[in-house]
């Protein structure tokens, strides 16, 4: 019993490390449309959700935002609050959708991306006290569909490899 708990903790730590790495290198990756992020770090959150439970996912996502902002030096800045609110809303949405709907990984990934945008826009509207900032939202949602599908595919590919790699977990896609 104790070994499995230790194993879980170590796996979570590894996932967290990977998530921070993704979060840090992502702005450096070239994307076709300027300003679009793939949301690679989100894959790790999904993996945690499917491997363990919603608590792991929330833990990893929150720690990821916190630690990456500390490493980047944006802690408690505007970007940090945007990131935090986006990740909170998207994590909650994904957890609820996982429980109450039959969305697959790709659907969950899309939902995560959509709610991340919504959370960011809500936060930036509150910070700048300007409700017109919502005019950015349609464009963001439109772009969040392809990026969500793409990260969903990547998450699914990762699951297959984790399963083959011998981590004994009952992952249902």
């Amino acid at each position: 019993m104790k070994t499995t708990r230790t194993k879980k903790m170590v796996t979570e730590a590894l996932l967290l490390g990977a998530a921070i790495l993704f979060q840090m290198i992502e702005p450096a990756l070239p994307v076709a449309v300027p300003g679009v992020k793939l949301g690679l770090a989100n894959i790790i959150g999904l993996i945690a959700l499917f491997m363990y439970d919603w608590k792991s996912m929330l833990k990893i996502n929150l720690m990821r935002v916190l630690l990456a902002s500390l490493l980047r030096g944006t802690f408690l800045g505007t970007a940090f609050w945007l990131s935090l609110s986006g990740v909170l809303l998207s994590s909650c949405a994904v957890i609820l959708l996982r429980k109450f709907s039959k969305l697959s990984v790709i659907g969950l990934s899309m939902a995560s991306s959509v709610f991340h945008c919504l959370g960011q826009i809500l936060a930036v509207s509150v910070i700048y006290e300007n409700s017109y900032l919502i005019s950015y939202l349609p464009m963001m949602w439109l772009l969040s569909i392809p990026t969500g599908i793409l990260t969903g595919i990547l998450a699914r590919l990762t699951f297959t490899r984790i399963r083959k790699g011998g981590i004994e977990h009952d992952i249902q896609l």
């Binding site: 702005p27 300027p34 300003g35 505007t78 970007a79 945007l82 709907s101 039959k102 969305l103 697959s104 790709i106 659907g107 899309m110 939902a111 959509v114 930036v124 910070i127 700048y128 006290e129 300007n130 017109y132 900032l133 919502i134 005019s135 950015y136 939202l137 349609p138 949602w141 439109l142 969040s144 569909i145 599908i149 595919i153 699914r156 590919l157 297959t160």
Partner: protein, 132 residues
């Protein structure tokens, strides 16, 4: 590579979700477009806020070029023909200069790296009679 499509398979619920998101996007865009159409004419000012504090109020009826020292460097703001744009700025992606000319209240210019927001407001705002 052919196998990759296997991983892209979506179920019925995914497709329903996708359609819902598309509909919401279109509705939101339409709503904003309607809002822009209702945007009354009249004199407008561009309000420049830095770190959430108003630093400049530019009359859109007067053309001109203004500069402001923001977080990452000098931001050049240009006013011409009742529209405003960020002409030059230092930031990783240059979103706010890519945004181009803006002349309606529903379109703010946001430059997060520089902590700068430019919004367009009615010139006589504040002098309105408020019925409460």
């Amino acid at each position: 590579m052919k196998n990759l499509w296997k991983y892209a398979r979506m179920n019925k619920h995914d497709l329903i979700f996708l359609v819902i998101v598309c509909i919401m996007t279109v509705l939101l865009y339409g709503g904003l477009a309607l809002f822009r159409m209702r945007d009354a004419g009249g004199d407008k000012v561009a309000v420049v806020r830095y770190r959430n504090e108003e630093v400049m109020r530019l009359d859109l009826t007067k053309d001109g070029v203004y500069t402001f020292e923001a977080t990452l460097g000098t931001v050049t703001i240009e006013v011409q023909d009742g529209a405003v744009r960020v002409e030059k700025e230092t930031s990783p992606y240059h979103y706010c200069s890519l945004r181009g000319w803006v002349k309606q209240t529903a379109d703010p210019i946001v430059c997060l790296p520089n902590e700068l927001v430019i919004t367009i407001e009615g010139a006589d705002e504040g002098n309105d009679i408020n019925l409460r």
